[in-house]
Symmetry: C2
Subunit: 323 residues, 2 copies
């Protein structure tokens, strides 16, 4: 079940807003429709957003306009503009947009497969891994990052996962669904329960994805990642960030420059289509938070496993060098 494909002249998106209850697809015929699907989180997860945007570039005869429309769909995921810039550069070099997009997608598949393998090497047999948000095949249009590592490890070892429900949009339901399909035992928890499970010695490591990683290793990820990282360090629980280099933004010195998207307050106030709050209640809905590099035990990219200090050496990659 592919999160994003290009078929019959359109970008075919598995609608993640309707999973796990319904398997439905959306076909986008214009860059604007792809941007809408990204904004509406029908496709979500930084690498998957990047793949969708790359294919979206093949839906227009005006690359500059398509790029502008796609790039402003959501502000935080670095993959979005990295993918679009990659396609633009490849087009300047004479490729078609679709060939370039296919190349980007192939690279993401290879890179997330490598990340999953590297990540799996960090997971000993019997480990209990805490996951936040969803960073598996759905989120990457590939093998996944943090969840990819768990899926890969489970091929040869016994692994157990705690799944943060990930309010407000319950991406934990996607993670639970992907784990269930692979037959991996897991328990869903409310996000605020993760800290005390760590304190009670029930968590062996936390693994998360990322939406944008600055040069020094500070990174944005789904809201709730920062308090998780703080609780992990407080309880000596290793905390790993897994992401392809396409999620890196080497133009940013640190996390202070990361733009955190504020989403509509109804995502918080309404649940399953029902308003939980009284009339006139207001909410604040930051979709991401920024975690300083000092909380991260190690980063896992397609290049391997490294510390924050060594990230800069990974700069010369196809994704970033194409800019």
């Amino acid at each position: 079940m592919d999160a994003v494909t290009f078929a019959k002249g359109g970008v075919r998106i598995l609608d993640q807003a309707r999973l796990p209850h319904e398997t439905a697809y959306i076909t986008c015929r214009t860059p604007g429709e792809v941007a809408d699907a990204i904004r509406g989180m029908n496709v979500r997860g930084a690498p998957a957003i990047g793949v969708a945007a790359a294919y979206g570039m093949a839906l227009s005869k005006d690359p500059a306009e398509a790029a502008a429309v796609l790039k402003k769909a959501r502000p935080t995921a670095a993959d979005l503009s990295n993918a679009v810039d990659y396609v633009l550069a490849a087009m300047k070099a004479g490729k078609t947009a679709l060939d370039a997009a296919n190349g980007w997608h192939r690279m993401i598949r290879e890179n997330t497969a490598a990340i999953s393998r590297h990540g799996a090497s960090l997971i000993p047999g019997g480990a209990r891994v805490l996951l936040h948000c969803n960073a598996g095949p759905l989120a990457t249009a590939g093998s996944g990052t943090s969840l990819g590592a768990v899926l890969e490890a489970a091929k040869t070892k016994r692994v157990f996962a705690y799944v943060d429900e990930t309010r407000p949009r319950f991406q934990g339901a996607l993670t639970s669904w992907e784990l269930a399909q692979a037959g991996i035992e897991h328990r869903v928890i409310v996000d605020a329960a993760a800290g005390s499970l760590m304190r009670r010695g029930m968590v062996d490591m936390a693994m998360v994805g990322a939406d944008r990683i600055a040069r020094n290793g500070d990174f944005a990820n789904k809201i709730g990642t920062y308090p998780l990282a703080v609780a992990a360090r407080e309880n000596s629980v290793p905390f790993y960030v897994l992401a392809p280099l396409s999620t890196f933004d080497f133009s940013l010195a640190d996390g202070d420059g990361i733009v955190v998207e504020e989403r509509h307050e109804d995502e918080v106030l309404e649940v399953s289509g029902k308003r939980v709050y009284g009339k006139g209640a207001r909410a604040l809905n930051p979709a991401f938070d920024v975690t300083p590099a000092r909380y991260v035990t190690a980063y896992v990219t397609e290049k391997g496993i490294g510390k924050a200090e060594g990230l800069a050496r990974w700069k010369d990659t196809p994704a970033s060098s194409s800019k």
Copy 2:
């Protein structure tokens, strides 16, 4: 609108499971019905549970049996057994159960009013106070504790509150409703957003209630309190625990002895009556967590404001001395 009253031979409970959408009351005619309302969280909040249980003692001719039924309704809130023991002791001294329960309720009203005043003295004008779970009039059958302090402060100063939604049961909806009735500006956030708001300098202090406080100051409170306390200390945000002495369990040396209730996993897996997860998904649902005393800036009880080291001197109170 009283959370708990005794009227016409029954314990009348404002059904908090239906608020803020519906104002409905449940009348309990037996201690078992009161225990069911406590277990079902129709009445919730440690002090309010205590008041309901005290009145529940007046519904039976067999005090020992009533006490046993009521005490086992929920395991974590200390007020429950403290209130029941208070009524039993008063009955041995010749009082009727109803007189004793009225005395307990009067004491809770006075003590929560005192806590609200002491707590309000910690809130400077213009402060942004973060609240977790619901600890206002509804939760105490009195003036409230942490939310009581905000309500009291707002009578004379400008106060703003961040309201944790408090998964899985969204007690933030009760807090938002009580704040709205008092005209206090606030924003609801998902629980996992609190940490990053602290990091961004948007929170001046956190105030929480408690369900059971050990002699050394370790305390149980709604799940999510511990990671909040950790993030608060990490960001030098003062973290206050507000609770009457009836929430203290001086028989416990520290938090390791606190029993944390595990509630049904459907509270996590179903939201607004709809299942969010795929078939066969499982959840873990600890209702509380335990926060070590070292994270607490100060405790606020009816006796005043104090540090963990000084809690033992508060032991000789009507509530605990009656045991």
